[in-house]
Amino acid sequence: MKPTIQRLPHARVDLSTPIEFSFDGRRYTGYAGDTLASALLANGVDVVGRSFKFHRPRGIFAAGPEETGAFVQLGAGARGEPNARATLVPLYPGLSACGQNAWPSVRRDLWGVLDRFRALLPAAFYYKTFQWPSWHFWEPLVRRAAGLGRAPTAPDPQWYVKENAHAEVVVVGAGRSGLRAALEASAGGRDRVLLIDEQEFPGGSLLASPDPADRAWLDETLATLAARDNVTLLTRTTVNGYYDHNVLAALERCTDHLGPAAPATQPRQRLWRLFAGRVVLATGALERPLVFPDNDRPGIMLASALCEYALRYGIVPGAELALYSNNDSAWRRALALTAHGVPVAHIVDVRREVDDALRQAAARAGIVQHLGHAVVETRGDPALHGITLQALAPDGSGLLASRKNLSCDVLALAGGWTPTVHLYSQAGGRLHWREADSCFVPAGCAQAVTVVGRAVGDFGERLNTEPLWVTPGVASNRQWVDFQYDVTAADIELAVRENYRSVEHLKRYTTAGMSIDQGKTSNVNALGLLAGLSGRPVPEVGTTRFRPPYHPATLGAFGGLETGSLYQPFQRLPAHESHLALGAALEDYGAWQRPAYYPRHGEREAEAVTREVRAVREAAGLLDYSPLGKLEVRGRDARGFLNRIYVNNLLTLRPGFARYGLVLNEAGIVMDDGVVVCLAEDHFLLHTTSGGATAVREHLEECLQCEWTGLDVIVTDVTTAWATVMLSGPAARSVLSAVPTDLDLDREAFPHMQFRTGHFAGVPCRVLRASFTGEVSFELSVPAGYGRAAWEALLAAGRGHGLLPFGLEALMVLRTEKGYLHVGTDTDGTTMPQDLGWGRAIERQEADFIGRRSLDLAVGRDPERRQFTGLEPLDPAARLSDGAHVLTPDGSASAGYVTSACYSPTLGRTVALGLVAGARSRRGEVVKAWFAGETVPVRLVAPAFYDPEGARLDD
């Protein structure tokens, strides 16, 4: 560990605000404006992480999102975060981080022993072995080595939000070129301009320029933009995805920079959906390392990182600095560094020829130059203290004999620039290989996007890059290409040897580029190497596909606010609060929160349900039925239209009357059922299942708009406009009569399957006499605002009549006793109306209706169709579960199954409904029902156990 380093005067950190933090249990001090990486570097911490596969020590390699080794476990507990890039974590008071993927610590990691077995573990070795005795045996061992950091085990205590923004121009990247683009786009004052940068501060590479002119330009530009109303600047915001139609996604880290001090009122991160007219990508460029033996040692970093740490954070990270380069930009930066108090001792350049002016300037700056040389060895313990150079043979095929040893503790790599074209490529943009700079640059995109600055390969300088994809003449199995997943040049050679030559095969076979940096610094090196090895030019090899996110993005942000009770809405019943007060057990029924049952103190579900069933059978019950779908259909063509929708003949339905009906889809499958009420010759009210209301409405609309256009029909969904209760039981009429109403409730005046409108306690009401329980029932609707009061009024009116509220579970028992079908429970995705006993009625029906033709396909005429039936265990006390299957006579297979089953409190026995092959012609037959290893003999019976004649309905 090196001593703490003094900052240079141009440092963009606040030296007056020291910040304490800890890493691996030791305390350190940095300054406001630092990142964890810069602070660690300034404190001389050299080993920060361990690589994935071989647990090689890793130091700080980059200064941005392209970091390859400095991943830490940040914080602990529920707020902990694995794999945090030290280079992206702004320093805050109380920051505490640990090394990860190591035991006991990243400095002394016993897993490091794996590195010794490297020869046995080449790329994809696992496909070739572990089959004896079996993979099953080996997997747990291999699995133990998986992963990097640790996931928290407790729920995330912080919150996230998503936000939508629309802008005529979205500029991504607030470096010099992005700032220029934003100035230009916002000049007119009209267009909304959104300027976005992932860093803590806008400025991009300008932030690492100590040049006063650059700093002044930046300040001035930011002031100008701030003064323009039409410009919004988002920092700490990474644009991660570029989707169709110029929609982008960006992740803003709102309070991460505050650490534990982040206020609970603020979201941790925010996912932006950006809807852009035009996009300007000014995302800059990333530097590449060079590939040479032991190039992954702590102390070796990108030249761009060295500049950033030295010129932005004012840190001189070592005593002897060397640069290893293949292009001119490294030379200019070496000069800048030297000029600003960070003397570069050596430049090693693979090129034999370098621009004279640069060489002279370097000489004047006292930099020792090693042209035409390659680094062939690095030494350190583990951090770098020396390197060995060898001259490259003039034809580039190997090395010359002479070796030079240099001592240095920082080696900065400048292997060429890679424009940050990730987003451009995601947008569908094509890339072009620019040989002169050895990089891919944008070459055309169908979306409205322009690319500027370094991202388009406009580097503002001549680079004269001369790639050296691998160091020849030395072992390739120590030359790292992908530092995170420990992919070496030898792995790539192996893949090519085995014919995994497609760049996509290479990636998957070696895992190069599949780690958490997604190959930001390694991909181009890998494909340069691949091109050389397979004798193809780079453009023919191509790149692997760029995918979102550009930088890994927190899962929580994609959920946003929509977690817990906001995950998906529940619809609330008008009488919700009354149900709560009655102690109802509320459950989810088709996105409505509805009472399942109303347990009394100490009562279990079955007991409560039995009590509620008895009340309905013996006195009266009240069910909140508000979710019942209610669709009004009117118009001159309404009747004819509905006649094509419903299986039934509706041409004969008269005003005031109601008819039970089925709706099919065009494949003939039962989609919904319900009661159709005729309000007037040209006006109908459809009751649908609660779960089916939206689907049926949309079905009607689709038919009207797409299939039978021009009909004179209006559909109005009034489901939530009316609160509905089902008042059911022998005492129902008496209960209803106890509330003031102008309805004539008399049995003859208001028979079963008729409908009336009137007033209930002074408010308008609609009442249908239909029954889903088998008892006399009134389905009474009042305007939803009066729903709760109506519920309370009926409960009060029923007090003397033994009325109880009942929930859906009791309703299920009641209708099962009666053999009433519940669509979705007693039907499945194959059920056709003939399976429900509608065959005759359909034959009589003359008109075509949706789904009718499909009933005539071979499948519809199959005698083995599963038909709706009642099932009755021979032993009345036998229990039968829904889901039990009825066996074929030889007991070998399923002939159908039980769809509904319950103990009937009314009949004192188990009753069940089901779908069984050919059941309608097998009434009386005894079959076996099988569930959980047990067989129950049951008789196939008509689906009507209780009051099969329906006498009670006309009471």
């Binding site: 080449p122 696992y126 496909y127 133990r144 729920p155 030898a490 927190t554 994609f558 769809t899 569930f931």
Partner: protein, 416 residues
Amino acid sequence: MTRYSALSLLRGALNGHRDWPQAWRNPALKGSYDAVIVGGGGHGLATAYYLARQHGMRNIAVLEKGWLGGGNTGRNTAVSRSNYFYPESTRFFDHSLRLYEGLGRELNFNIMLSQQGIIGLASSRHELETYRRWVTAMQLQPVDAELLTRDQVAARVPLLNMSRRARYPVYGAFMQKRGAISRHDAVAWGYARAADALGVDIIQHCEVTGIDIAGGAVCGLRTTQGTVRSDKVALAVAGHSSVLAAMAGLRLPIESQALQAMVTEPVKPCFDHIVISPAVHCYLSQSDRGEFVIGGGTDMYPSYGQRGSLRGTEAVLGAVVELYPALSRLRLMRQWAGIVDISPDTSPIIGKTPVTGLYLSTGWGTGGYKAIPAGGETLAWTMAEDRPHELIEPFGLDRFASGRLIDEGAASGVAH
């Protein structure tokens, strides 16, 4: 074919891994073949392998427009299971799972089949009812399946949100313990290597652009590498089935849609099963590298875009966070999509076509990875015998005119 083994790996270690042979050749396209399979995905490669291995045909080509295994086989979440409702499905998929169980050794390529068990969560009474019906159907086959109580689920999936007040509380679950994930690439590569060793020509970067038909029978193909003659041609091109069928003058009951998947950054193992929640449309498992592999539903509109929409990503990840609130701070590392071939009943369409000598393997939709071994084996049989193998007879193209759809989604609530 050099056998892969620990020993050969050791030999490799001693000589710098310099002697490994090519996993497959790069043969030139010949003028004619006894059978040509279009599509170098799992199904195409497996079909070729079984044709060679079990039916003694050697003059076979697999034509792949891109790189082999680069279609859905190379981008799927690698779940294999055989928990289906209808016996037709269970029989077929369980056969496939059994083949998977021995596949690594058969191909001498470790496909890393990890039988962690698949757990399907029930989030309502109704779902639990469906599971009871479904598990019983499987047990009758018999295929392993069991119901889990809430407590059993909580013990197996400690990260799961078990709050009773959750929007979708856990009522229970089904489990198939033999449910597995495996290395998808290894399946494609293993079949390719084994087929190649049996003499099959795998031609990559060879796109089929036309199908020649004479007298109602297929006689050849036009490709970007030239024309080729053959009177047995199978189409195993997944999301591109309609495109290829159109070349043969056929329209298919297929819609192509984008199906997304995604992975998080790798973390230490903390999740031991494959868990699916039909209510919120997401499923996940943790791979042996440590990343969570996450999937959900399709993007619900026709597409050949292979991108996937932001909305789809949000929906799936939102569901993950809701079900596993502790995973909220993990990061999404990569999101991608494949183009899947959705049939009206979400069941496969495999077998003969109205064109003599033209065979079809499509409709695998979101769930055909698990079917690769059995799909390949039965299609090979069907091609060799020119009549449908009994396991796939119910899955023919003719089922649409008879209405005999096999709608697993409608029956079990969980599609493929």
